[in-house]
Amino acid sequence: MISAPDVVAFTREEEREEEPSAEPPLPEEYSVPLLPFGGPGANPWSKVAGSKFSRDFILISEFSEQVGPQPLLTIPDDAKVPGAFDLNYFSLRIMSVDYQASFVGHPPGCAYPKLNFVEDSKVVLGDSKEGAFAYVHHLTLYDLEARGFVRPFCMAYISADEHKIMQQFQELSAEFSKASECLKTGNRKAFASELEKKLKDLDYTRTVLHNETEIQKKSNDKGYYTTQAIEKANELASVEKSIIEHQDLLKQIRSYPYRKLKDSDFHPYEPECPLDEVSASSEQDPAASEAAEPGDAHPYAHVPSYTPKLIKAKSAKCFDKKLKTLEELCDVYFFTQTLDQLHQIERTFRGDVCYLLTNQISRALLKQQSVTNFLFEDLALLDEKAPEKQHGGCQRLGHDAVNRKCLEELPTPKVVISLGSYKSSVECVPIKMEQEIEDPQDPTMTDLMAFEHQDNLDYLDADIKGSISSGESIEVLGTEKSASVLSKSESQASLPTSPSPQVGRSKVGSRRTVSEDSIEVLSTCPSESLIPEDFKASYPSAINEEPYADDEEGGLRFSPKLSLDNADEREGGPEQEALLQVDSACCMGKESAGSPEPPAELGARRGEDEDGVVSVPPQPLRPPEQGLPGPLAGGPDGASAGLLCYELEPAGGRDAAKTSLDECSDSTSYMSSAASTCSERSPSPGHPAVPAGDRHRKRAGQNALRFIRQYPFAHPAIFSLLSGRTLIVLGEDEAIVKKLVTALSIFVPNCGAYAKPVKHWVSSPLHIVDFQKWKLIGLQRTVSPAGVNMLHALGRYSRYVSILDADSKTLRCPLYKGTLVSRLADHRTQIKRGSTYYLHVQSVLAQLCSKAFLFTFCHHLHLPISERESEEAVVNRRMNFLKLHLGLANEDIKIVQYLAELLKLQYIQEPDQGGNPLLRFDYVPSFLYKI
């Protein structure tokens, strides 16, 4: 099975155009759609060339009340990145679609100005002229001096690849929401302290005025008021009013976290640095502290030091004053946090979309392999991704059980999702019904058909649509899809009978904003926009958020059941049809757009939705059920059984016959390992930066490749590592030794959830404890007496170690006659790139892991079936299984046994205790290999 990134990588690297003809033609559903817009020779990257900037970047702009839309900063902060791209122009565009930035300072029927707790809105828009597509995140910050106290800002992720934006919408939205929440928290803090200052000023002013009035009263004995006195009184009154207003504002801003907390979806931004909190609370003014402010636990610390000023009755003219900068609007700590977060986003989304997607998918799949993933995977990679990522990756996989589980466990981050859930569950109804009627037995098939149908529709309509709605440079992208994709898991949770819910359809609402100037809002998935009113076509372009933020927020969160029940009534009959039509009219089929996407639909991804996101993950990855019925009985599930069989095909089978490229592509069905590590296999041009981990992997792969080619005894060395025998690389030159250690480290299984048991460079004599702890050691050879000592120790412990002498190029280790390592490390391999080789290794190792898993968790392989059964019978069965079913020969058995032992240890380990590391060894003779 071939999955997308491989194809892409090979096309690029080898410039191979023709399909391997020896293979039987792929079934229809696996075939790669041709690149729609490209003639022969056009490559999927050519599209990017149309854009004026070299790589994705983040733009923060503001709609200034003085000068209009203006760009503030870009991330990365490098003039080269936007290049010729017109930031001002683009700022204008993205700010102009902020339909919701309406603020009414004094709402009718309210005596005081009210603060709006405006939700962020998330918009995707495209501009074909600029060749730019952007995810735009609008937010408002409070500023006492601004009109209506608000300043609209937006953060935009700008990319040349619309698919990237569309497919990563959910992730982008989650990440940007975090950044926005951080910024807003800081802003609220700053705003509150500003208000307090202002209140002090006002208070001071009032005192001054009051005193003056008193003096006037005393001096005035005429019995009537002078105009001066009246003026003063008026002034005083206005100051009083102003005080009340500001107090009210302060109360509002402080009550914000409370209000938001009622909404279960709200996640107050929690600063990662508790120090800050401590310092803040240590100097906090007890009077000013509102103890239980969870979201905003920094009461305004520096207040006491402020000296009040007298406030003039007339405020300065709007245009005279200088507006605060973004930095001034926000608490410093939070501002830097936000910037960090944005940099993080920029790093995360760097690279081609198929790379990102593959990464996400593989990460999600890896997460599912909770039992075995510690063995060979980069643990940092597994951990680094926050729960949000899980929403992205694993939910998209449509893995019901897991998804539901993680949803239960993880609080959903935003309103978007709960609203989305409402929406998509509504949408799912018809399909679900169809399924039930047609074939309740095989929902997948039904789905598939439904998908195909839908796809076709979309495909057809997309062209029509495009011609209709695109003006000069207008582009319309149907993007409600992404919203529904993002909420899919929710709908699954609510509709367990619909295994892979239908792709969402755009709603009428998404068409509402048709801007004049060559821009169309492609999609609006803002939190508020998906409220039920959304169904009304005549949607006001500006929404007053207030009620939602206040009261109806809770009401919006329909319980899934309710929505399910109401769904039929609400959108029955013609309305439903209309919806469907609108849907297809609105959505531009992804497939039609022409992108590097199509290859991604190859291979194992059968249940795919329009986003090209896997609904059904590649089967072999799924670890077999626990308490397996039999060695190879296979589950009742036909597909998985078949794949399992393939998995377990004896090593001499199809896999082994192939080498290098074929093998590599073959083994990528184990995406779990392969994809976690895609480094530069499919980088977009102009995205030269590769994350550090990738670089390391690339180098390790390259070194490993060199090692395999150079040393004819690479196999026994690798076997030593895989079977848990410590390998010592002995040499005088630190660089050479370290290089070898790096190369070999990719073969070292982890012993637990800690760092790899690899020690790059030691110069002291080794002890037994070292072999317990390290499985790969780089050892310095010295001529000093200490060196003699060290060599003596090596000789002494020779039974526990294999010794690779880098200087004399010899290896002393046990014999290896298995077949597994030769597949892993073929010195005639055609693989040239380090990273490709690394992936190859990972895939073979993943296969090995699954074997070890199977072996470990087969009950009767380790325990007698009946009481009477002897231990020998169990041992025989075990060996039989290893040899016949897992297809292992000779020493390969030891590898799987060792991995199984690690799995057992990891599984039975109590979480609270670290567990003593064991040293397992065999009494086997060693041999000396020479070049």
């Binding site: 002494r796 032992e901 003593n916």
Partner: protein
């Protein structure tokens, strides 16, 4: 010629294929003592006593109380008539104290510090429910740590070893002398009487072992081994310097001269019903009590002094040494005693002079010593980087070794451990209902 027998890396009969290093001690670990089926204690020069779980290697307790190195350790188990089991452990230290510990809680129960000299050995007499401490004098204590009686000052050297004998008697090794004491439990109180002094040994008595109710054996620094009657304390048999005379018959004289007395000292003795196994210098000797002679020997079993030796149930013998290794031996009957001279002629016929010489030597040896058995090396355990002081055999649970490199190592049967882990795994799986594995 005297090179150590070695075994290759292939050791089929060696069951120990897994090890656990137990870290905790900060100085030489000298003592290991078994508490029950799965617990043992280790103690050494750092004055700390650790209690370990022999199955998991878990550190159960860390007993701090002594300020100097520990000189003796003895578990004191007694089950009352009511089945009340309390497990005490007594430790004596160079700080002239003895502490009684509760093994189940790890608490110090009582500390006795009225000694005039370091207590060098502790012996528990469960039959009488008393324990003895011996240094320059001998004290008798009950389990509540009340001093029942004591002897006057005996020797400056002090008592280095104690052995319980029948009829409430105790043999104490004090320098070259073997002193027999009798404990008398009268209604008016306990008394300890010196009954006899035996001075048959030429040098310091290093080891004492009881073979059965009727005999016990002592060994001295110059390689004397004396078999005693346990009832009337008469010498039944003695092998004085027989190690040298009988075993170095064909050794070169200069080698003989270069041998320091250390190399012939009887470091440790152990016995089963038939034989006494003696760790003498670097070698191991098997002395048959019936035949009253050495039936098997391995002159250089280790690279340096053998420190501890034990008989395992399955014909096996285990020894540990200053060279840092533990070796497992098996005692085999020599298959063809009489057939041996035959090939001599055969080889000499073909002119294999060298073979001839060796064979004739072998023939000579068999004639002189009539060694009926031989010790075969079946495995060695290498893990410690310094002298292995002692080991403790736990049956199928494994083996604990302690060493001067501050470590205690638990050696285990890898196969068995693997099976046990599988059992645990499936138990845990059943408990969790598989919920931990997400498919």
């Amino acid at each position: 010629k005297s090179s150590v027998q070695t075994i290759g890396e292939e050791q089929i009969q060696n069951p120990y294929t897994e090890l656990l290093v137990l870290k905790g001690h900060q100085d030489i670990v000298r003592f290991l003592v078994q508490i029950d089926d799965y617990r043992f204690a280790s103690a050494g020069d750092d004055g700390i006593v650790f209690l370990w779980n022999a199955q998991t290697g878990e550190k159960l307790f860390e007993l701090h109380g002594h300020t100097h190195k520990i000189t003796a350790i003895a578990p004191f188990f007694s089950s009352d008539a009511f089945g009340e089991n309390d497990q005490l452990m007594l430790t004596a230290s160079a700080d002239r104290t003895v502490i009684a510990w509760d093994c189940s809680s790890g608490k110090q129960i009582q500390k006795v510090s009225c000694f005039h000299s370091t207590v060098k050995c502790l012996t528990v007499l469960p039959r009488l429910d008393v324990w003895l401490s011996a240094g320059s004098d001998l004290c008798v204590w009950n389990r509540k740590l009340d001093l029942l009686c004591k002897t006057s000052h005996l020797t400056d050297a002090g008592i280095s070893a104690l052995l319980e004998l029948p009829k409430n008697c105790v043999a104490a090794a004090a320098g070259k002398e073997l002193i027999i004491f009798r404990l008398i439990d009268r209604p008016e109180g306990w008394n300890v009487l010196e009954v006899k002094r035996l001075d048959d040994h030429q040098d310091n008595i290093l080891s004492l072992v009881s073979v059965n109710d009727l005999t016990f054996v002592t060994g001295s620094h110059v390689g004397e081994l004396i078999v005693w009657d346990a009832l009337d304390w008469t010498k039944q048999a003695a092998e004085c310097n027989f190690w040298d005379s009988s075993l170095h018959t064909d050794a070169q004289p200069e080698i003989k001269l270069s041998q320091s007395p250390n190399e012939t000292s009887v470091q440790h003795l152990t016995s089963d019903e038939e034989c006494v196994f003696a760790a003498v210098g670097k070698g191991i000797f098997v002395y048959n009590l019936q035949m009253k002679r050495v039936i098997a020997c391995q002159k250089t079993a280790h690279d340096s002094s053998v420190l501890h030796i034990a008989k395992l149930p399955n014909r096996q013998l285990m020894s540990c040494s200053e060279d840092g290794s533990v070796r497992i031996w098996e005692l085999w009957e020599k298959p063809q005693l009489l057939a041996e001279p035959v090939p001599t002629g055969f080889f000499s016929m073909w002119g294999f002079g060298r073979a001839n010489k060796q064979a004739s030597q072998a023939a000579k040896k068999t004639q002189e010593n009539t060694t009926l058995y031989f010790l075969e090396l079946v495995g060695d355990l290498i893990g410690h980087s310094s002298a292995v002081q002692m080991f403790l055999y736990f049956g199928e649970l494994g083996l604990a070794t302690c060493s001067a490199d501050h470590l205690v190592i638990l050696w285990k049967d890898g196969e068995r451990e693997s099976r046990l882990r599988s059992v645990t795994l499936f138990q845990k799986l059943a408990q969790n209902g598989g919920s931990e594995i997400k498919f």
